[in-house]
């Protein structure tokens, strides 16, 4: 009798620790069975990795924000802004690298402003970044005249988003490098450790002498810069920049992080988890598209995935208490 109880517990434990992996596996098996020829092809594999890139890069930065227990709802609009800005710079003859750098740095400055306002005035990041995203949207609209920027974008601007090394897209390499760097930051630097300490208990971190405001601002700055980078890469990949092109990534980024919190039983935002979340999300979208499922059904399904992920994360964390 007692043994049975223990078995049931451990099954539950396995589900809370690896449930998300099973979900990922399930999605792959189902799509693989339904359309093995297309879905399981190596072309599609590399395609999926390329589709992951933009969401992954935004989510990496946002994971840091979540690790200090804040929210940044402007990451999507920052990406839109940065895409439009870099495209316009490129059209006006600025070399790709410099166009990217300018957009990257300006996005970082926006992130810094977010962090500064939130920590200096002790206001809710949720509402401040939401308001900031309106401001950024206004600027983007002004820059682009409200239209998609695509005319006269030089080929050099599209290179990094479309080029491949053998079968492997350049973007995939970039993403892997970014993931490794962020994994290193969160796992093995004092910066990452401070982020997690602040997220775990802000007051205790403050008493222990950690400059909470400073490190929160750093997290916001990095998240802003990463969103900016993602915006440039997105514009480069599709060869145009829409003034709302990056907006939808904001909600998706938080969804992947919540999914990620369920991975490895950590219950806290973590980079490997976020990557699993991004993969789950992207594969779902990819598979549904291959199956020619209408967009509205895709929306319903991905929305439900988020709901289930957040609920299971709550259950998982209760298990951990």
């Amino acid at each position: 009798m007692k043994k049975d109880v223990k078995k049931a517990m451990s099954f539950k434990e396995v589900m809370t620790s690896y449930g998300t992996f099973f979900a990922l596996l399930l999605v792959i098996v189902v799509f693989g069975a339904l359309n093995p020829r297309v879905f399981l092809s190596s072309t599609n594999f590399w395609n999926i990795t390329r589709q992951m890139v933009i969401l992954a890069i935004i989510s990496l930065g946002t994971t840091l924000i979540m690790s200090v227990e804040e929210f940044d709802l402007s990451v999507g609009t920052i990406a839109s802004f940065s895409g439009v800005l870099s495209a316009i710079l490129a059209i006006n003859g600025v070399p790709f690298f410099w166009a990217m750098m300018i957009a990257f740095v300006l996005s970082g400055i926006i992130g810094f402003l977010n962090g500064f306002i939130v920590t200096r005035f002790k206001v809710m990041s949720f509402i401040i970044t939401l308001a900031m995203s309106r401001v950024i949207y206004g600027v983007t609209y002004w820059l682009s005249d409200g239209a998609i920027v695509f005319n006269k974008i030089p080929e050099s601007f599209k290179f990094i988003g479309t080029a491949k090394l053998g079968p492997i897209p350049y973007l995939t390499f970039l993403m892997v490098i970014a993931i490794l760097i962020f994994h290193y930051i969160t796992k093995s630097t004092s910066l990452g450790r401070k982020f997690y300490a602040i997220g775990g208990n802000e007051q205790a971190s403050q008493v222990a002498g950690i400059k909470v405001s400073k490190y929160k601002t750093i997290a916001f700055t990095i998240a802003g810069a990463m969103s900016g980078l993602a915006g440039v890469l997105l514009a480069s990949r599709v060869g145009s920049a829409a003034p709302t092109g990056g907006d939808a990534y904001c909600l998706n980024a938080y969804a992947t992080i919540f999914i990620g919190k369920t991975v490895f039983k950590e219950g806290i935002p973590n980079i490997p988890g976020t990557v699993v979340g991004v993969a789950l999300f992207t594969i779902l979208a990819n598979g549904l598209t291959i199956m020619q499922v209408p967009t509205f059904v895709q929306n319903i399904l991905t929305g439900l995935v988020i709901v289930i992920a957040v609920i299971s994360q709550k259950l998982g964390s209760k298990e951990n208490e």
């Binding site: 208990n201 007051q203 008493v207």
Partner: protein, 495 residues
């Protein structure tokens, strides 16, 4: 009898918070309830108001046996309580707050009749000559106005017994006088009052009878006229004599850490000065609400200072912040282990190196080996019972968690320890170990400022004791043959 308890007991685990209490409040009296921290006053109030359930015994309200299961049961029986931390919705106005938990009046199904509600509240206010603006939001009221508002709420229902728990803790003397006048008026109109306070002068000023609690037992109920404050203190405390073995030694030389006329922005610390010497464990003793914690938080830099000076090794520390304090060699052991000391969800090593984490960065890389070694050394040194540096901190026992807090403090090699209730909720063994540890640090030349509510512990540990009351420091006593009665009489004296 308005209320009477017979053989009432409350047990938490193996520990009796209240044992065999036979307590009664008569109609029309103001009854004082006194006792040291942990004597069981709050537990009794919580049982009478339905927050806790009694383990054994019976409660009678107006002679009838009462079964109090929830706070609303208690209110229905005519018992209201006003706590030191007020129970008011800041964004509601006076009328809305008074009607909290009461049925609102309606004109018809959808429309609340605010006009009549307001008129009802005003009627009560006129009756008791209370004057507070009802249209203001509660957050804009002054502390005494908030207390008055709660009293209005209490008398709106048929309140037979009003319990006031340390109602003057955040009031000035003048504001307190206003409150006392109101209490007397309420009492004259027939409401019995149970008045709980550390401030004996208030007890003597207000009450007809006084009940003394000690260690969960009712010592005695006395007529206020028949006793003086010395007599009361004698009933409240076992008389311990100092057991500090080092009290023979003189404290010599210049202080290494001193503060002058410190006040905190929240107003709890008003004028605090003390000097702490190398080799000395300096006790800072005061009753609950005396401003001990607020003082330590402010001088450490965690909460804003209003005024005052802080000197460390002869140099003034201006605008202290926690990180500045730690860098100069001052650490704070916060009284709130869960909320302000430890990141419970993280590993032990995360907590141990939290204050010193930057020192492990060498040439841009984090030296995890050095970190592990250092943490392991501290685990051994402090005998922390754990499966290793990677164990989650929340899995440790209370005593071992507190050792982790000390391990972190020691990592920054401090010269000054500000300890606020460092042995709170730890086992006897660990308590002894913490005392020994601090003594060892003092012997090596550190200064220790020690705050504890437990006077027996204070007399065991401290070399000198500085008295703090009402946010001000008073006598500095050499802990040589001091008795608890002596110390307490300084605290309870009318200031």
């Amino acid at each position: 009898m308005i209320i009477e308890t017979k053989h009432l007991s409350k047990r938490f685990g193996n520990f009796y918070a209240l044992e065999d209490i036979n307590f009664a409040v008569q109609e029309g009296e103001i009854h004082g309830l006194v006792g040291e921290n942990g004597a069981g006053k709050s537990t009794l109030i919580k049982i009478l108001t339905g927050v806790y359930h009694l383990t054994n015994g019976e409660i009678f309200v107006s002679g009838e046996k009462a079964n109090i299961q929830t706070p609303s049961d208690s209110r229905r029986l005519g018992i209201s309580v006003i706590h030191q931390d007020r129970n008011i919705v800041p964004a509601f106005n006076g009328v809305e707050n008074v009607y909290l938990g009461l049925d609102v009046l309606k004109r018809h199904i959808t429309s609340v009749d605010f006009a009549t509600m307001k008129a009802n509240v005003q009627k009560v206010m006129v009756q008791y000559q209370i004057d507070i603006p009802l249209d203001k939001m509660a957050r804009d009221l002054t502390p005494p106005q908030k207390t008055m508002l709660e009293i209005v709420r209490a008398v709106m229902t048929n309140c037979k017994l009003l319990i006031l728990d340390e109602p003057t803790a955040s009031l000035t003397d003048k504001e307190s006088e206003l409150l006392f006048a109101l209490i007397k008026k309420l009492n004259a109109k027939g409401t019995a009052i149970l008045y709980v306070s550390h401030r004996l002068e208030e007890i003597f000023q207000l009450t007809n009878r006084i009940t003394v609690f000690k260690n969960g037992k009712l010592v005695k109920t006395v007529e206020t006229k028949g006793i003086d404050s010395d007599g009361l203190i004698r009933l409240m405390t076992d008389n311990w004599t100092s057991t500090n073995e080092r009290h023979g030694q003189e404290i010599k030389g210049e202080p290494i850490y001193s503060i002058e006329h410190v006040s905190s922005a929240d107003g709890m610390a008003k004028d605090v000065s003390f000097a702490s010497h190398a080799g000395e464990i300096m006790g800072l003793f005061g009753l609950g609400g005396s401003g001990r914690t607020e003082t330590l938080e402010a001088i450490y830099g965690y909460k804003p200072l209003k005024s005052g000076k802080i000197f460390f090794k002869g140099k003034e520390i201006k605008n202290p912040t926690p990180s500045k304090s730690i860098q100069s060699g001052i650490v704070l052991i916060h009284e709130d282990r869960r909320g302000h000391s430890l990141v419970m969800s993280r590993e032990i090593k995360d907590n141990v190196v939290l204050s010193t984490i930057d020192s492990y960065v060498e040439k841009g890389f984090f030296n995890a080996t050095k970190e592990r070694d250092n943490v392991n050394t501290k685990i051994k040194e402090l005998e922390i019972k754990t499966t290793g540096p990677e164990q989650r901190t929340s899995e440790l026992s209370g005593g071992n968690q507190q050792k982790v807090v000390f391990a972190r403090a020691l990592m920054s090699v401090p010269k000054v320890f500000l300890c606020d209730e460092p042995t709170q909720a730890v086992d006897v063994m660990t308590r002894k170990e913490i005392h020994n540890l601090l003594r060892k640090c003092a012997d090596k030349g550190s200064a220790v400022v020690y705050v504890t509510s437990d006077l027996k512990e204070m007399l065991e540990v401290a070399d000198t004791i500085t008295i703090i009351a009402n946010g001000k420091t008073w006598e500095r006593l050499e802990n040589r043959g001091l008795t608890s009665k002596q110390v307490l009489s300084y605290c309870y004296q009318k200031r």
